[in-house]
C-alpha cells in the first residue's frame, strides 16, 4: 500500500488497532454531526492529491479534497461536519466505510490509490437505565470542583463561574491560554483532575467543551483528551506557527473515549494554540464532564 489512512496517533509501520467513534446521545442535537481527524501518509515516490469521503446508509458525508501531499510525507486534517445523520432514538452501533483516494493531479482525475477503512460508530444512550453516572462535574456551584491547570508552554489560568458559554446553568469552568496576554508563539495548556474509575466492563469519559478564539492573528492547533500521558483523542494537528485553525472553534463539541476500569486516571484536556499578536487569547469553556459505566 502506498497511501495510508489512520484514525489515531499510532505510527506506521505498527498496524493501527481497531478504532471506534463513541458518543453519548443525551443532549446531542438532531441531526447529529460528526467531526473526525484523519492522518494520511503518502509512501509513494510522487506527490499525490488526497480526497476523503465515506458511505453508510442513512448518513450524509462531505467529500473533502485535502490538496497535494509530497512523497514520503504525512498530514493531519480535521474534517469538521464530516458526516451527519438523524439522531438515533436508542443506543446504536454502525459501521462507516471511510475512503481515501489518492490522485496524481490537482484536478483529482487520475486515480492512483484507493484505501478503505471501516470504523464503528457507537452511540451510547447514558439515560437508558443501563448506565451508572459515576462522576459529574457541572461547575454550577461556582468552584473548579477539583480541576487544575498547568502550562506546558506559555501561560494558562483557570477561572470558575464562567457565564458567557455554559451547558448547565449557571456556570461553566473556563481556562484561558495566554491569560497574561502579552506573549506570542505557542501556548499549550493542560486542564486536569484525577478520578478513581469504577471496576466495570465499560467506562467512558464524556467531555463537552467550547474553544473560544479571540479575533484573528492566532490559530488553534489541537485539542487532546488524555489519561496521564496516554492520548485518547487528538483533534487537529501538531503545533505549527501559523494563523490557520485546525480544530473546530466557537461551538460546543463532545469528545467521548473509553477509560481503563478500576484504576486512578488523571484526565487531561490539552489545548495548543499559536499566537501572532500578544493580546490574542483562546479559552476552553468546560461543562458537565461525566464518567459513566456499566457491566
Amino acid at each position: 500500500m502506498s497511501v495510508d489512512l489512520r484514525f489515531s496517533n499510532v505510527d506506521p509501520p505498527a498496524p493501527e488497532p481497531k478504532r471506534s467513534i463513541y458518543s453519548d446521545l443525551v443532549n446531542l442535537p438532531d441531526p447529529v454531526r460528526l467531526g473526525l481527524t484523519v492522518r494520511i501518509f503518502n509512501s509513494d515516490i510522487v506527490t499525490l492529491w488526497m480526497r476523503v469521503d465515506a458511505s453508510l446508509a442513512g448518513w450524509t458525508f462531505t467529500t473533502f479534497d485535502l490538496g497535494g501531499l509530497g512523497a514520503g510525507l504525512d498530514m493531519y486534517r480535521n474534517l469538521d461536519n464530516f458526516g451527519s445523520r438523524a439522531k438515533p432514538a436508542a443506543a446504536l452501533s454502525e459501521t462507516i466505510v471511510v475512503r481515501l483516494r489518492a490522485y496524481t493531479d490537482s484536478g483529482y482525475t487520475s486515480l492512483k490509490w484507493t484505501v478503505e477503512r471501516n470504523i464503528d460508530v457507537v452511540f451510547i444512550k447514558s439515560d437508558d437505565g443501563s448506565w451508572t453516572q459515576d462522576f459529574l462535574d457541572n461547575f454550577n456551584d461556582g468552584t473548579v470542583q477539583g480541576w487544575a491547570v498547568t502550562a506546558e508552554v506559555g501561560t494558562i489560568q483557570i477561572v470558575a463561574g464562567a457565564t458567557d458559554y455554559f451547558l448547565s446553568a449557571p456556570y461553566a469552568l473556563r481556562v484561558k491560554l495566554n491569560y497574561l496576554a502579552n506573549q506570542t508563539l505557542e501556548h499549550r495548556g493542560r486542564l486536569y483532575k484525577t478520578f478513581a474509575t469504577p471496576n466495570r466492563a465499560n467506562v467512558f469519559a464524556i467531555a463537552d467543551l467550547f474553544i473560544l478564539e479571540y479575533d484573528g492573528q492566532m490559530g488553534g492547533k489541537n485539542i487532546q483528551l488524555k489519561h496521564g500521558d496516554n492520548v485518547l483523542v487528538f483533534i487537529g494537528r501538531p503545533y505549527y506557527a501559523d494563523n490557520a485553525d485546525y480544530i473546530t472553534m466557537n461551538k460546543w463539541i463532545r469528545i467521548v473515549a473509553p477509560l481503563p476500569p478500576n484504576t486512578s486516571v488523571e484526565i487531561r484536556v490539552i489545548l495548543d494554540i499559536y499566537v501572532a499578536v500578544g493580546d490574542r487569547r483562546a479559552n476552553i469553556n468546560f461543562d458537565d464532564f461525566r464518567i459513566i459505566s456499566k457491566d
Binding site: 484514525f7 489515531s8 496517533n9 488497532p17 481497531k18 478504532r19 471506534s20 467513534i21 463513541y22 458518543s23 443532549n27 446531542l28 442535537p29 447529529v32 454531526r33 460528526l34 467531526g35 473526525l36 481527524t37 484523519v38 492522518r39 469538521d80 461536519n81 436508542a90 443506543a91 446504536l92 452501533s93 470504523i119 464503528d120 457507537v122 452511540f123 451510547i124 437508558d128 443501563s130 457565564t163 458567557d164 458559554y165 455554559f166 451547558l167 446553568a169 449557571p170 466492563a201 465499560n202 463537552d208 467550547f210 485518547l232 483523542v233 487528538f234 483533534i235 473546530t248 461551538k251 460546543w252 463539541i253 463532545r254 469528545i255 467521548v256 473515549a257 473509553p258 461543562d287 456499566k294
Partner: protein, 47 residues
C-alpha cells in the same frame, strides 16, 4: 422462547446494544448546530 432467540439474547447480552470497547478514534460530535447556537438549545447565553 425459541432456541435461536435464546442464543441471540446470549450473544447480544439481552436487549440493547452491546458496547465492545476498543480505543477511541480521533473524533467528536458537535453538541450544537452551526447556525444559531441559542436556537439549538445547547447552551444558554446570559450576557
Amino acid at each position: 422462547m425459541s432456541l435461536l432467540k435464546k442464543i441471540l439474547l446470549l450473544i447480544g447480552g439481552g436487549s440493547g446494544v452491546k458496547v465492545v470497547v476498543v480505543p477511541s478514534a480521533n473524533s467528536y460530535f458537535n453538541l450544537v448546530g452551526t447556525v444559531d447556537l441559542r436556537e439549538q438549545g445547547g447552551y444558554f447565553n446570559r450576557t
